[in-house]
């Protein structure tokens, strides 16, 4: 026998294989059948198209920002335009891309399939959530077309309430609506996971993907209303001058930041937990092994969600909060770092004794683990009170959250998209081109954001249109990296679009993965399963899968 193949990919014979005659994509035809659908898979596709659109708009703004920062002088755009660029980059990327990215696309598509259900608990609310997202996006685009907004994504008062004449209200309404879209998604997931698991699917047989989404959903449902309240107060203050945040009327401008970060810190976990969800599935599948310490990984998601609510003040250490409350929040911040460390090491040890292959999703997952480790550990710098004084509000913090959000979350998103692409479309992406894209993204990312850590310790403030001469070399490196990174992001769009028509037929389970979603046809039927499956084994049970495959072979053969 020759050496075992370096891939686990098992495709059907391409000369005879066809896509299944009936599936959710061709079940109905016409635009209306998509726009009025209740099918979680179709809504996921709608979301995927819309968030990709907004990702590239936000990305274009980032490109312009990096281009401006190529030279120390503010010479490409005016200061006001620059302020609008980073504001709209932030708002679009956070509220219209990162928050819905994995949950609304992969989560929407996969959660019902993973727990053996035919759909989410509330299909119409699911569709409504997409329409709210589109309404928010349209309002955001309107605000941009009318001249944009320059509050920074943090809407800091009293700047946003009393000093700016841009489209703050329109943007606030857009974010308010986007918030409801994410509340509905979270609500749907919580109810579905509680009520619609198939027979035998106990809590501890669920894939870790579902666990992490459950934790993120709790954050969405409990955190987002606070954002909504805060934005309403900003709007009331701006329009009627009620003065809750206005010191000259006895209000407290710091109160805004407490409220804002009470949502926006948990929001960080809303963004990263679904990314961790993807990594658990991918690492397990490509090492043919159960995730090391399943329970620890599951509970660490819940722990992150819980602790995540009690660390918001670490965004405000230099803002004249009481030194003793700073002490408490710093300690809690250190505690929230621990579950993330647990996850990283558990994934590493999932590889041990495995049988590892290196397809594109796995490469992205490796990228995630490296970059998220750096992102997480630099978070400890910022949680450490004294260090935070030097680093906060500088490029260090910009680099830190891009390592978590882009290096972590976006890598996980791309990993997941490649991993489940054959399930969603029935076709494979081109393997070598996508491996190239993963490597290019990794290199481009590091080149873009590593220099920013150094800039941050030098003291270069964030949101600066012009900067002192001596920071130029590092900024040039960063801009060069951003160019490479841009190529890394464009490639998948091109080859994934190509694969829709020309990709190899994937078959039901090309990765030989254990999840229930892989035990049905690709692309799935509208009802997901011909009959509701019965979960009679643990999650990630590769022996069960092998047994089942052999059984099928003997029966068919």
């Amino acid at each position: 026998m020759s050496a075992p193949s370096p891939t686990i990919l098992k495709l059907p014979d391409q000369s005879t294989a066809t896509l299944p005659k009936k599936n959710f994509i061709n079940a109905e035809h016409g635009l209306l059948s998509w726009l009025l659908t209740g099918d979680h898979k179709r809504i996921a596709i709608l979301y995927l198209i819309s968030i990709t659109f907004f990702f590239f708009i936000g990305g274009a703004f980032a490109g312009l920002i990096r281009l401006e920062l190529l030279t120390p002088q503010g010479d490409l755009v005016s200061s006001d335009t620059y302020n609008k660029l980073f504001t709209m980059h932030g708002i679009i990327m956070v509220f219209l891309f990162l928050v819905p990215s994995v949950p609304a696309t992969l989560g929407n598509f996969l959660i019902p399939m993973m727990i053996g259900a035919r759909d989410l608990a509330f299909p119409k609310i699911n569709l409504l959530s997409w329409y709210l997202y589109i309404a928010a996006g349209t309002l955001m685009l309107t605000a941009m077309a009318l001249g944009g907004v320059d509050t920074g994504w943090t809407f800091t008062t009293p700047l946003s309430t009393h000093y700016l004449n841009t489209h703050v209200l329109t943007t606030a309404v857009a974010v308010f609506i986007a918030g409801f879209s994410s509340i509905f998604t979270g609500l749907n997931f919580i109810v579905t996971i509680h009520r619609m698991r198939c027979p035998g699917m106990t809590w501890f047989r669920m894939p870790l993907f579902v666990w992490a989404h459950y934790a993120a959903s709790i954050l969405m449902v409990l955190g987002t209303p606070v954002l909504a309240i805060t934005l309403v107060l900003v709007a009331l203050e701006r329009v009627f001058g009620i003065g809750v945040f206005d010191p000259s009327k006895g209000g407290d401008p710091l109160l805004f930041q407490h409220l804002f970060w009470f949502y926006s810190h948990p929001a960080v976990y809303i963004m990263i937990l679904p990314g961790m969800a993807v990594i658990s599935e991918v690492v397990s599948t490509f090492s043919r092994k159960r995730v090391f310490g399943y329970t620890a990984v599951a509970f660490s998601s819940v722990a992150i969600a819980l602790f995540g609510f009690f660390v918001w003040e670490h965004h405000m250490f230099i803002m004249g909060v009481s030194n003793y409350s700073a002490l408490v929040f710093s300690l809690l911040t250190m505690l929230v770092a621990v579950p993330s460390a647990i996850k990283i090491f558990n994934w590493c040890f999932t590889l041990q004794q495995g049988s590892i292959t290196f397809e594109t999703p796995m490469l992205y997952a490796f990228g995630f683990m490296g970059l998220f480790t750096i992102g997480g550990l630099t978070g400890v710098f910022l949680g450490s009170l004294g260090m935070d004084i030097q680093l906060t509000e500088t490029y260090f913090i910009v680099a830190h959250f891009h390592f978590v959000m882009v290096g972590g979350m976006l890598m996980a998103f791309l990993s997941g998209i490649h991993f489940w692409w054959p399930k969603m479309t029935g076709r494979m992406y081109p393997e070598s081109l996508s491996k190239l894209a993963a490597v290019v993204t990794f290199i481009g990312f590091n080149l873009t954001f590593m220099p920013q850590f150094i800039l941050g310790y030098l003291g270069m403030p964030r949101r600066y249109h012009a900067y002192p001469q001596e920071f130029q070399v590092l900024n040039v490196l960063s801009t060069a990296g951003a160019t490479v990174l841009g190529v890394g992001y464009l490639l998948p769009v091109l080859y994934l679009a190509w694969s829709l028509k020309y990709g190899a037929i994937a078959g039901d389970n090309p990765w030989q993965a254990t999840g229930l979603e892989w035990q049905t046809q690709s692309p799935p039927l509208t009802e997901n399963f011909t009959e509701i499956p019965i979960m009679d084994h643990e999650a990630y049970d590769y022996e069960w899968l092998e047994h089942k495959t052999q059984h099928e072979v003997t029966h068919v053969g």
Partner: protein, 347 residues
């Protein structure tokens, strides 16, 4: 190499002029850098460990050499290890960081006070001797300096990277930070909190001088009136002295020696009189009525600038007796003329 000598020269010059690590110019900087290197070390070890695990496992257990995976549930011992060791390290970072934080945000008692007012988009510095500076700050070495800062409009943040200090400058509230400069030279001052259009132009230069040079500088740049003197004029021109005259029958309490004392208010609470209290009591008097007095003082909200408030605070800080207050009062009552000093008050 085909690179042109001109281009080569340019590159060398460009790289030489660029910075990779900030200069250490305050007593706190070495402490900050020590913690920074400790945290960097943790990060390098952590990332290296993850990288080694990924690479070693990938090589040893790749499908070609290890075709069949061995199923392992987990290991409580291993998991406890990588829970407890990071937790321990993070707790060290917590304690170390907290010590540094308390050091930076608790000024020593003998420090010299300089007031900073931030506004869109400039920094005003006011020395007690009456020196005013815009987007600049001159300070001596070897002397702890406390900055009492306030914003006239939006949030700003006062950052001197070479000193490793930074503090938010907040509308309607004094915030403080302190430093002791060690090396004469010129350093960057940045506003690090996004504050509108010209945020990136809200920068300045910190000039650190030797104590002798600083003395020379203060003598050359004085405006002729100290902050307390300005405050005294304001105290008279705004009519504060009419009630706060120090007479036994006066409608307001005597303010001589009030700074630093503990006051009992009509609502029963006890307060320490500091800069923030004085400022608040001028702007919202009804919230701060000294026990034994009636709440008749009108608010001065909107009638006096932050600079004027600083003058008044500085004046009250140094007020030890009411003799001059009463003198001024008699003079102004005798000729009924409005005090001409009001024109001197800077906007």
């Amino acid at each position: 190499m085909g690179i042109s000598p001109v281009l080569w020269q340019f590159l060398v010059k460009w790289l030489n002029a660029s910075a990779l690590f900030p200069s250490e110019a305050s007593t706190i900087a070495p402490y900050m850098d020590a913690l920074y290197f400790f945290l960097l070390a943790i990060t390098f070890v952590g990332v290296l460990l993850v990288a080694i695990l990924l690479v070693v496992f990938s090589v040893r257990y790749r499908k070609a050499v290890h075709p069949v995976a061995t199923q392992i549930e987990g290991s409580t011992l291993l998991e406890a290890t990588w829970t407890i060791i990071p937790l321990g390290l993070f707790l060290i970072c917590f304690v170390w960081g907290a010590l540094l934080y308390f050091r930076i945000y608790n000024p020593p008692v003998n420090s010299m006070n300089i007031y900073i007012v931030g506004k869109q988009w400039m920094w005003k510095a006011e020395h007690p001797g009456g020196q005013h500076e815009i987007n600049a700050l001159h300070v001596p070495t070897g002397q702890p300096i406390q900055l009492t800062m306030i914003s006239q409009d939006v949030f700003h943040s006062f950052s001197i990277p070479a000193f490793r200090i930074k503090r938010e400058v907040i509308p309607g509230r004094y915030s403080t930070v302190w430093f002791q400069a060690t090396t004469p030279g010129e350093y960057h001052l940045f506003c690090t909190q996004y504050c509108g259009t010209n945020h990136s132009a809200m920068i300045g230069t910190i000039t650190v001088l030797t104590p002798e040079d600083y003395k020379k500088w203060t003598e050359q740049s004085t405006s002729g009136m100290s902050l307390a003197q300005n405050g005294e004029r304001l105290f008279a021109s705004m009519g504060c002295n009419a009630c706060h005259s120090g007479n036994a029958a006066a409608r307001g309490p005597s303010l001589a020696g009030v700074y630093g004392s503990k006051l009992l208010l009509t609502n029963g609470s006890q307060v320490l009189v500091n800069d923030a209290y004085l400022r608040d009591a001028i702007l919202n008097p009804s919230q701060h009525v000294t026990s034994g007095y009636t709440p008749i003082m009108p608010t001065y909200q909107g009638q006096i600038s932050e600079d004027g408030l600083i003058d008044l605070v500085e004046y009250l800080k140094n007020l030890s007796s009411n003799d001059r207050v009463q003198q001024t009062l008699t003079t102004s009552q005798s000729d009924q003329a409005a005090p001409s000093a009001s024109g001197v008050v800077k906007p």
